[in-house]
Symmetry: C2
Subunit: 219 residues, 2 copies
DNA sequence: GTCTATACTGTGATAGAC
DNA sequence: GTCTATCACAGTATAGAC
């Protein structure tokens, strides 16, 4: 593994675990057992490392997010399992770059370029969740309820974005896998009451998947 | 106004507008036209200023949050207007100390004491929202749906905590008053589908209050 | 209570040898 | 590509005069 890549991997780990703000270039160099000078040979500074890490994150997310926008998830309409798995993957990808979310406003304030791009990404998340809702709900929501649907999609986007922060705050040290599963359940549950008579069935199916995932987790 | 209080007021303003992480003791002293030495006479350092500001925030919030827990809001059950106003006040109080939410994880990591207390405060928010739900929903939610109710309350707590961040991210520079009104509407909307046959009426009432508040806003 | 001076620290960044 | 050495600077904190 090249030094440049090792710097990226180690930086990401330190940012996630110790917080980006309090990880210095020296910390990174120490962790890698290289000199600060060497680090500066590969990257002009912390800014450049963060820019590169964000680039990685953006590529991965954008790729995933386009899936439900271009084609409905699952073979049959309302395929719960496919949507569950999809949300799980999204949460996982976000969790891998969780340092972004921990000091979000701080980072977005310092890097206006990342701010613009992050905003676009959130809008993309919103579109993806909107597409999922539209297939799940099908024609169920009346035309007049367009606005209601917008509120639901905002609700889901908000949950997707901040759930892990919220859950880890209330349950410090909880296994991240559990947090993520809870997050998926949380989103699915928020959709359920809009499903009319299928509402309870849908919710029960979700809980069942949740239970199943929770118990096979120690793999 | 005593210097000590002026330091607190100015610090809060700077933290909110420029971000806590990048506001130094010197910035605060400059803004007040006093010397850094003078500032250090009143507070041992930035830590102590933050601790004091948090104390203020906690007192105000805890006081407000106990209201619906001890007695239902509104004179009649399901008094929408009273609950609307209540949520509005909560958002406003949080907005006044928004620097806390902008770098939340960073601050909570640096001050373990604040972490514990903030966590308790979120649980208090959760209790308040739970109490509101119970009066609004009354006996509507079946016993079997206890778990569903928990998911709803988590959803509302999450929205209350992060809505302003989310809204300001997607609509940079939007009038905070509008963000807050949207936040209240967002929470009320999330409750509405659980109201059974009153669902649509409730939602329409909320939209009406929202419209009214939006237009009298330029006061 | 408030000021000016100053010292200490950690971090970011570069130059030049190997 | 990697190292050592060193600089510059910002932010924190204190001492002592007024």
């Amino acid at each position: 593994m090249k030094t440049r890549d090792r710097i990226l991997v180690t930086s990401l780990a330190l940012f996630n675990d110790e917080g980006e703000a309090h990880t210095t270039t020296i910390d990174i160099a120490n962790e890698l057992d290289i000199s600060p000078g060497n680090l500066y040979y590969h990257f002009k500074g912390k800014d450049e490392i963060i820019a590169e890490l964000y680039q990685q994150y953006e590529l991965a997310m954008a790729d995933t997010l386009h899936a439900p926008i271009t084609a409905p998830l699952g073979e049959t309409d309302g395929d719960i399992e496919a949507n569950w798995y999809y949300l799980y993957v999204l949460f996982e990808e976000m969790y891998q770059y969780r340092f972004l979310y921990q000091n979000l406003d701080d980072i977005l304030q310092r890097y206006p370029d990342i701010r613009r791009r992050f905003k676009r990404l959130v809008q993309l998340k919103r579109s993806a969740l909107s597409a999922i809702c539209l297939t799940l709900l099908q024609q169920r929501v009346l035309q007049a309820d367009e606005d209601l649907l917008e509120r639901l999609v905002d609700n889901l986007t908000l949950t997707l974005n901040y759930w892990i922060n919220y859950d880890q705050l209330l349950h410090t040290g909880r296994d991240p896998q559990v947090s993520i599963l809870q997050g998926v359940l949380q989103i699915m549950t928020a959709i359920s009451p809009y499903l009319g008579e299928d509402s309870l069935n849908f919710y029960e199916d979700c809980r069942e998947i949740y239970q199943r995932m929770m118990h096979k987790e120690p793999n």
